[in-house]
Amino acid sequence: MMRRLILFFPLLVFFGLGIFLWRGLQLDPTELPSALIGKPMPAFQLSSLYDENQTLTENDLRGTPALLNVWATWCPTCKQEHDQLNKIAREEGVTIYGINYKDDRAKANDWLQRYQDPYARNIFDPKGTLGLDLGVYGAPETYVLDKDGIIRYRHVGEVNEKVWQQLREVMQQLDGGAS
């Protein structure tokens, strides 16, 4: 009897491996976890997109849970998600900070005038130095910051309605944890 059962062992191994590999097919290999989850926003000192004489630092992003969106005018997906960001900022009253990544100041300001501006603050990062410290590897990227400026979540790619639901859930959990 025991010997009979042992004959089924390879079949079990096959199914185990099959389930493991099949699960692997569902994962998106381009979605990398951020190395900075749970860490504070990296220190920076960059000018505001709106006013080159105004300097912003990581302290300017504290105070309330917020989204931090990495964008640029040369990035087509940023254009796609822009309406969604406008909606989140206006209808849901969420604070969104922007990092204008490797872009041109005049072009970026034009862009915001034409398509509306959802950003409470916009950091001008023409050389991508802050992007490098954040581990940005392609715009758009969207981070969730808690009220102390700690990075809680990162999404790479377009923010659409479905992604926004995820981001909102993360933000609601932050609120729950705070009170």
């Binding site: 290999p29 990398l32 991508g128 590897y137 392609g138």
Partner: protein
């Protein structure tokens, strides 16, 4: 008029030129990709090693030496800057891992999470060896040794075999 001798001399010259061209062409190709000036050859080699070892976060099946993506170019410049500033290889790798995660390492570090990855294959080999060993032991103990098939004949069978062999000799 061209004599046979000068023809041969011409051919030799052409071959020489071709050879020179063959050595010279790859140099220009290299120069087009890399515009970095290094302090010395050791630094140049470290740069080549580091960019080959680190993976491009955007185009995931290329290292940052091969990739044309803007982020890979940024990282090459960053590595170059750190090398010029006298950073050690470990410092540069730590810098990259702190920003882009363990993902950027083509050779994952040995820690609790990657223990299975590094030693798993040896473990499997060991299990395989044990299974083979146990199976052969069992067979030999059961007298089921394929090298000596006559061992599992019963006494009557053996007698019959001998009889048949003898008949053949007649």
């Amino acid at each position: 008029m061209i004599s046979g001798l000068s023809n041969r001399a011409l051919a030799r010259k052409a071959r020489c030129l071709l050879l020179m061209l063959a050595f010279w062409l790859p140099l220009t190709a290299q120069a087009a990709i890399d515009a970095f000036e290094f302090r010395d050859d050791a630094t140049r080699e470290r740069f080549a090693d580091l960019t080959a070892e680190l993976r491009c976060p955007k185009c995931q099946n290329q290292n940052i030496a091969d990739s044309n993506s803007p982020i890979a170019s940024d990282l090459r410049h960053e590595i170059y800057r750190m090398l010029q500033d006298g950073a050690t290889d470990d410092e540069i790798v730590d810098f990259m891992v702190a920003r882009y995660g363990e993902f950027v390492l083509y050779r994952p570090r040995l820690d609790n999470q990657t223990l299975l990855l590094w030693y798993g294959p040896f473990g499997l080999l060991l299990i395989g060896a044990i299974v083979v060993l146990v199976l052969t032991r069992k067979r030999r103990d059961a007298g089921d040794d394929p090298a000596h098939p006559e061992h599992h004949l019963s006494e009557a069978e053996q007698r019959r075999l001998d009889q048949l062999l003898k008949q053949d000799e007649k």
